[in-house]
């Protein structure tokens, strides 16, 4: 359970740190004691002017986007680029870090700082950067193979440490870049190039996985609902701590339609439920709802007269118990799949704790002097 008793919206700051003033909804970067402020004033020039970056175009790099036409990644890129100006973070303070896979090409298309690294390791690189430069705004872009298979270990440790950054996990339930093998989120029985008789692996439910790793923000969205996605991205960014956002992403080449039941107009109302803090769990245009019966959820018909919205579970995103129950609603034929913020509760971030400890020791013992360190312990003089 979360050890923090803070209210979900109130950031926890290290002792001595001042609360920064930021636009509402923006993720507040803090300068810990001793951190380097961003260097220099904005320089005029063709490659960027930091302060003036206000439109979506300012966040698009000059590189050609090389995803397959029709790939869900395009919608995510567009949504992120649209969101950026709203966040009010100077472009030079933003860093996108990815691993390997189709989604991991993302940083090349953002006109911010970026690193396209090695398979599965983006969380480790992001952790080192955020720990050493806490004032930066860092986004990790990963996929189901990159983030949950080869990088699964790093993902859970990133969550438990609660490094203040956003993880966008593009889940397409397939290995795209290697041309179509089943992934750790592919459904059992999936026929792929590497599973011609059906995958025998049991898949991860990413939401349950990161909840188990004590993630402090857990959400899910989809490529075909840019409005919801943008809202979720904004929430993830506003959360002070490690934010995990799973985005269902259609790979039209190797796994076309994997999420259509949740994302397409005709089935979406029945198959998807959008959870919101403080609101009852209703779906299907308000005609159906989810009711808590003991530890289980059951679907109820709100049109029949027996039940009304007030009988449905009112969601509380600060409840780990509810997140565990609702997060476990996964690929059920008889139930809708939940989207939204499953869990959001802030606790001390890794980089705040790191710099608070340094500040505390320096406060007590003073700033170290190299001479003293070299001459420490028992010394003797040779004449």
């Amino acid at each position: 359970m979360d050890s923090s008793s803070e209210s979900p919206r109130k950031p926890t700051l290290p002792p001595g740190a001042k609360a920064p003033t930021m636009p509402p909804g923006a993720k507040a970067p803090t300068l810990p004691p001793g951190a380097r402020p961003p260097a220099g004033p904005p320089k005029p020039g063709a490659s960027g002017d930091g302060a003036g970056a206000v439109s979506r175009q300012d966040f698009a790099s000059d590189q050609d986007v090389r995803w397959c036409p029709g790939c869900g990644d395009y919608a995510i890129l567009a949504t992120v680029q649209r969101l950026m100006p709203e966040l009010g973070i100077p472009r030079e303070n933003i860093v996108f870090i990815s691993g390997i896979g189709c989604s991991s090409r993302f940083p090349y298309y953002m006109n911010t700082y970026g690193m396209h690294t090695i398979h599965g390791r983006a969380p480790t690189i992001a952790t080192g950067l955020k720990a050493s430069r806490p004032e930066l705004d860092i986004w990790v872009v990963t996929g189901d193979g990159d983030g949950l298979s080869i990088g699964g270990n790093h993902m859970i440790h990133l969550m438990r440490r609660n490094v203040n950054l956003q993880v966008l996990l593009f889940n397409n339930q397939i290995y795209g870049l290697t041309k179509g093998q089943y992934s750790p989120t592919s459904e059992a029985g999936k026929i792929t190039k590497s599973s011609p008789y059906g995958a025998i692996d049991h898949p991860f439910n990413p939401i349950a996985l990161v909840l188990g790793a004590d993630a402090s923000f857990v959400g899910r969205s989809m490529d075909r609902d840019p409005k919801h996605m943008k809202e979720m991205l904004k929430r993830a960014h506003g959360h002070r701590g490690a934010s995990f956002l799973e985005i269902y992403q259609n790979c039209n080449i190797f796994n076309d339609g994997a999420f259509f039941q949740y994302t397409e107009k005709d089935t979406k109302p029945e198959r998807a439920i959008f959870i919101e803090h403080g609101k009852p769990l209703v779906y299907s245009g308000g005609t159906k709802g989810l009711r808590l019966e003991g530890f289980h959820l059951e679907t109820v018909d709100l049109d029949g007269g027996a039940w009304s919205a007030s009988d449905c579970l009112v969601y509380d995103e600060t409840s780990y118990e509810l997140a565990s129950i609702v997060g476990r609603l996964f690929r059920r034929d008889d139930m809708p799949q939940p989207f939204g913020v499953f869990y959001a509760k802030e606790r001390t971030t890794y980089e705040d704790a790191l710099h608070a400890q340094i500040a505390e020791i320096r406060g007590k013992a003073g700033k170290g002097r190299l001479e003293d360190l070299l001459h420490a312990g028992d010394t003797w003089e040779v004449a």
């Binding site: 860093v95 690294t117 390791r121 690189i125 930066l136 790093h154 190299l370 070299l374 003797w380 040779v382």
Partner: protein, 621 residues
């Protein structure tokens, strides 16, 4: 009280051996401290099992600490042991072969019961079967004397028995006329809040000391005069501490914050322990979830403008390999410290070896050269760490720093360096566009410095210089993704050329001993002491022998070929199955011979002397 004869020695080697739980490492380091105070030169060799508490009394649970000290220049932990302190039969069995004939063996006779012998796999007691013939054996009832001395304290039997190393320490300090005060001060500090334990330890230490004075068993007491070390202020230093200080010094002199990411591994953990204490210096230490995360975090920190360092041992380097390649192609500064242990795989985790040189040179996919630097003594780890950091930043490249494992916990007297004499460590972050293109000012992340070929270091937070780097091949200059074959070849050559250019700034290679002659010994790492001691002995016998010791293994110093050619033959002594010798043979068409030892221990100078004489006499004959 018997009158003791004082015998003056120029040097001596002492070895404390017992169970892992007997506190031999502590006894050894306290004897080292006292020896440093006696102003002797010294070199140590801690030798302990991989198991934390192997079953008591067994041979594989034996822990040892060897110390060579003297009034003369001490270059090795000692070829042969003059005094062995054996706490039990297993310790005696394992270490007796290291004692010179006629050497002294102090044994705890109370630990030679039937059960103890069985545990050590001995049918007959070595005290009775003639094994110790030719040695000067001093049986001491260490357990009984300890129990007697502490009978009236409130300590329980276990605590009492555990303290007997203090008795042994006191006795040894007396035997070699070392001051007892440093050990007393240490006990007072260590057990400041545990009155009963403090008093018991002090009492035993003094008891041991006085026992030497009063017992008839020692007719002789030794004295070793202070060594003629160059004047200055000294401290005893272990390699791991020297590394930590070297990195802090590099951080202070460069103005870069120090970030150390590491995963616990023997014998590199001590570096993590040291650096995690230096919060006063703003050192950020990150204990990662695994070896890959450890180096990943440092790549992130390097991108952000930190002095980024990761430390590990061979198996950890194997795991970091892919990430080293990433840092190399991203051209970010990074130091990877490899405290080498016996390999392959888990190998001999607590034993020393030099078998990761080829891994450091070639152990990555693709054409992926990085600079390789090696430390040669515990104190030298300071300069090596500083040098590795400086090269990494100057040339924007990961640098491998190789340290033979035993240097990490070995110690020596260290002349504390004057920080003003440290090499300059300038750092310049790029804050402005560096190129004009179509009338506009742009930033090209792979536009190289014409001298060093280093690319600019522009960190996030710098407005106008936003750029993306990654593991895919870069277009020269722009750093954009490029699959162009000609560009790839050019970038591959540029990355190699950048590393090679480091040779331009390396000082002339000093030759130890003869400037030209019959045989040149070429070494690297911890073998320096043994090699140079061997050169001294060989020259004293009229042999025309010299030695060079390589700090830089990649690139090799530009004048190395010239030095090699001045000798009739070249011998490369290494604690591996032949690695540097392969690199040299690849570079130079000269008769270069290997001389290898792969036993998890350093060379004895005598072994090198014998080998070289064999070659010379074979030639002569």
């Amino acid at each position: 009280m018997a009158e003791k004869t004082i015998e003056r020695l120029s040097e001596a080697t002492i070895l404390f051996a017992g169970d892992s739980g007997d506190g031999m490492q502590l006894t050894g380091s306290q004897f080292t401290l006292a020896t440093a105070f006696a102003m002797n030169d010294l070199a140590t060799l801690p030798d302990f099992p991989a198991e934390i508490r192997a079953p008591a009394g067994t041979t594989y649970g034996v822990s040892g600490f060897q110390l060579h000290f003297g009034s003369v220049d001490i270059r090795t932990p000692g070829d042969e042991v003059d005094l062995l302190v054996a706490m039990n039969p297993a310790a005696l069995k394992v270490n007796l072969s290291r004692v010179r004939k006629g050497g002294t063996v102090v044994v705890n006779v109370n630990a030679f019961e039937r059960r103890d012998l069985d545990l050590a796999g001995l049918k007959v007691s070595p005290l009775e079967d003639g094994t110790l013939e030719g040695y000067h054996v001093i049986p001491v009832e260490l357990t009984r004397l300890t129990r007697e001395a502490l009978a009236h304290t409130e300590l329980n039997q276990k605590e009492i028995d555990r303290s007997k190393n203090m008795f042994a320490l006191g006795l040894s300090l007396w035997l070699y006329s070392r001051p007892i005060e440093p050990a007393e001060r240490w006990i007072n500090k260590k057990f400041a809040r545990k009155d009963s334990i403090r008093e018991a330890n002090l009492q035993l230490l003094r008891k041991g000391y006085h026992f030497g004075e009063t017992t008839e068993q020692f007719a002789v007491r030794y004295e070793v005069s202070p060594a003629k070390l160059p004047p200055g202020k000294y401290r005893a230093i272990q390699g791991a501490t020297a590394l930590a200080l070297g990195f802090v010094a590099a951080s202070e002199r460069s103005g870069l914050p120090l970030f150390y990411g590491s995963y616990p591994i023997t014998p590199a953990s001590d570096l993590l322990h040291s650096l995690s204490r230096y919060k006063q210096f703003g050192v950020m230490t990150f204990q990662a979830e695994d070896e890959i995360a450890a180096i990943g975090s440092t790549i992130g920190a390097a991108f952000g403008g930190s002095l980024a360092v990761t430390g590990t041992s061979g198996p950890g380097v194997a795991l970091k390999t892919e990430a080293i390649g990433l840092a190399l192609i991203m051209e970010l500064p990074l130091v990877i410290v490899n405290l080498q242990r016996g390999g392959p795989s888990t190998g001999l985790p607590t034993k020393t070896e030099q078998s990761d040189l080829l891994q450091a040179m070639y152990g990555r996919n693709g054409d992926a050269p990085i600079p390789v630097v090696a430390a040669s003594t515990p104190g030298d780890c300071f300069e090596a760490a500083y040098e590795a950091s400086r090269l990494a930043v100057k040339y924007m490249t990961p640098v491998m720093l190789l340290v033979d494992g035993y240097l990490a916990n070995g110690s020596e007297p260290w002349p504390i360096p004057d920080t003003a004499t440290l090499p300059d460590f300038p750092v310049s972050f790029t804050t402005k566009p560096n190129h004009e293109q179509d009338g506009a000012q742009v930033f090209l992340p792979y536009l190289r410095d014409p001298e060093t070929l280093a690319r600019p270091w522009a960190t996030p937070g710098t407005a106008g210089l936003e750029h993306r780097i990654g593991g895919i091949e870069k277009q020269e200059g722009t750093g954009n993704v490029s699959y162009d074959p000609v560009n790839h070849e050019r970038m591959t050559r540029l990355r190699a050329e950048k590393v090679d250019r480091i040779a331009r700034e390396l000082p002339p290679l000093p030759v130890y001993g003869e400037e030209s002659g019959d045989i040149l010994l070429v070494g690297w790492g911890s073998t320096r002491g043994s090699i140079e001691a061997a050169v001294d002995r060989l020259r004293a016998r009229g042999r025309r022998v010299g030695a060079v010791h390589l700090r830089h293994l990649n690139p090799l110093p530009a004048d190395l070929g010239d030095v090699l050619s001045r000798f009739g033959a070249v011998v490369v002594p290494e604690l591996n199955n032949g690695q540097l010798v392969r690199i040299l043979r690849d570079r130079f068409v000269l008769p270069i011979r290997p001389f290898n030892l792969v036993q998890g221990r350093p060379f004895r100078a005598g072994e090198l002397v014998e080998h070289v004489e064999g070659i010379l006499d074979g030639k002569a004959g």
